[in-house]
Symmetry: C2
Subunit: 348 residues, 2 copies
Amino acid sequence: MDSGEQLQHRARPRRVTAAMVADRAGVSVATVSLVANGKTAGRVSEDNILRVREAIAELGYVVDSIGSSLARGVSSIVVMVAPDISNPFFAKVIAGVRESLGPQYQLLLSVTDAGEFPQADDVRRLMSLRPAGLLVDAPNAGFLEDLASPSPLVLLDAPGLEAYAPSVNLDVASGARQLAAHLAEAGHREAAYVDSVTGTETFALRRQAFLAEAAARGLNVGADRIISTTVDVGSAASAFAGTWPGWQREGVTAVVCCTDTHAYGVLQEARVAGVKIPDELAVAGFDDLPYSATSNPGLTSVHLPATPLGLRAGEQLRRLMEGKPLDKTAVTLESSLVVRASTAAAAE
Amino acid sequence: MDSGEQLQHRARPRRVTAAMVADRAGVSVATVSLVANGKTAGRVSEDNILRVREAIAELGYVVDSIGSSLARGVSSIVVMVAPDISNPFFAKVIAGVRESLGPQYQLLLSVTDAGEFPQADDVRRLMSLRPAGLLVDAPNAGFLEDLASPSPLVLLDAPGLEAYAPSVNLDVASGARQLAAHLAEAGHREAAYVDSVTGTETFALRRQAFLAEAAARGLNVGADRIISTTVDVGSAASAFAGTWPGWQREGVTAVVCCTDTHAYGVLQEARVAGVKIPDELAVAGFDDLPYSATSNPGLTSVHLPATPLGLRAGEQLRRLMEGKPLDKTAVTLESSLVVRASTAAAAE
DNA sequence: CTGAAAGCGCTTACAG
DNA sequence: CTGAAAGCGCTTACAG
């Protein structure tokens, strides 16, 4: 008896159903459902609410997601699609999303290889989970064309794609211009730019805004001074090592990178080459990752509000999932320049 | 008519059900189910298989996960619980898991704040999704006690917890001993160790194995030469900056870090302080992250096979989910020392 | 080989 | 306020 019970307990922990709760509380399963979902207003007596709550607690009942989803026609899963989850920036975005979504939605990260988006097949499989909502980070138009999601959808960091769905974007252009102004005012005249090879729109915006403002302020960045690498310290480092001698001959005194990650590579090789930062070369990036504040020298960077990005996107999606209207269908969050030691001193 | 159809098409893309496929193919839904799940052997005629396949293709039918899960009693979701998803090491583990799990399982990452495990409540909500299986990375015993999962469960990097569930572990001790031997043979006599503050078992193993082998080989690491920080370049850097002067006075010529991330912080501050690597100070870590091969100098590191860890864990779980027996219930993957420039030269 | 039917666990009109 | 019942989309014995 004893060992039998124990065995059963370990092997197949009895799933508690609404019917069992109903039995225990002496009510119908309909009433249990109402109480479990907090839809009691004017529909369940105080008395029954109490009995059901008690039974739920005693039995440890949890509403079964599968049954509930089938009945409602939609699950409690929010699918988040992003091209790169192993990125400190993205980790903060997720933290924001989780906070605004709350515990009632399960966040399912659609993991793909870095820089890739899910294939049409993967998307169909994801959709067959009947997600309550979708969050798509840094997509390209092609992916959105294929998507055709029946679920509420919010885009993150998808400038120029506002026509496809409600979006939360970062005003990277403003930060880029501040950076160009900062360097020009510090006396720099010749600069270079390290871009990303991925065609994500945000990188194009960063580059264009920086180049335009630089040109306007007499900071010279020729087309031959723009290189591209993957978002990866090592690639940026070796690309920089290869081009630096030439740049140096041309009098370059500042290198702007489209991400802090690229900038770390540049800083590393600059140190190896014995280039003094910032006296001989100023270095700056975008993202303002945590490490940029503690690196030595600290890295000047365009701060992009990662957590607020996730927060706002989660909030927007939540409104959509709850059937509420959005105040604004396209939100843009400010960026701002954080000046640190890597650009602190003026060049000659 | 035209615009009405279009409207309907955009607003509510008709969900294609098995019943619709059955109608089209002139068979029962049972037959559709059999074909869609590839369970036709000796149960469906060639003829019907063809008709159903055609109907599926024409209508774009995808088996609904919710309905299917309810009928089967289990979903196609594999939940992966891990204390830190924004970590290059973990990204590789995930890549391995995805590959071995295949496209038929959806990987749901249970995201928590760095270093945290989901609360009991979160776990119950996750379990209400009736996951096909569970993968838990670097857990502590307490979490596993609470878990009591009815789903198949495989542990990753959980040394000492093999009693709870089938496990795939890393033989970090062997790598740690190789590292101690390498340093001792290079002539080092005084070393220091930078540990992690999280109480994860793998870190205790790394430290103990290194210290034991070091002691056996006359490499001196006093208790006052062990410091702990979070897994974070900045924290490691400032901790090292604080203790280095004292260590230097004591003649320390080697610093071993429990992760490469810690080692990057040490390298950074060493450079700032003008300490020559490896001539004045040898630095080494664990993980062998991609950056360690491209950093300058390259970082000597105990290579831990991240992708194979994920691969094996996924394979084991898959067997479990398919009801097959495991050949081995506890698997341990080898680690190995990768020597690079950060320890290449012998100290005095 | 085939299909009618039961059942998975829940939610939601509906009738009372 | 309450409960019986239909229905969500599928899978799986079962009878033929």
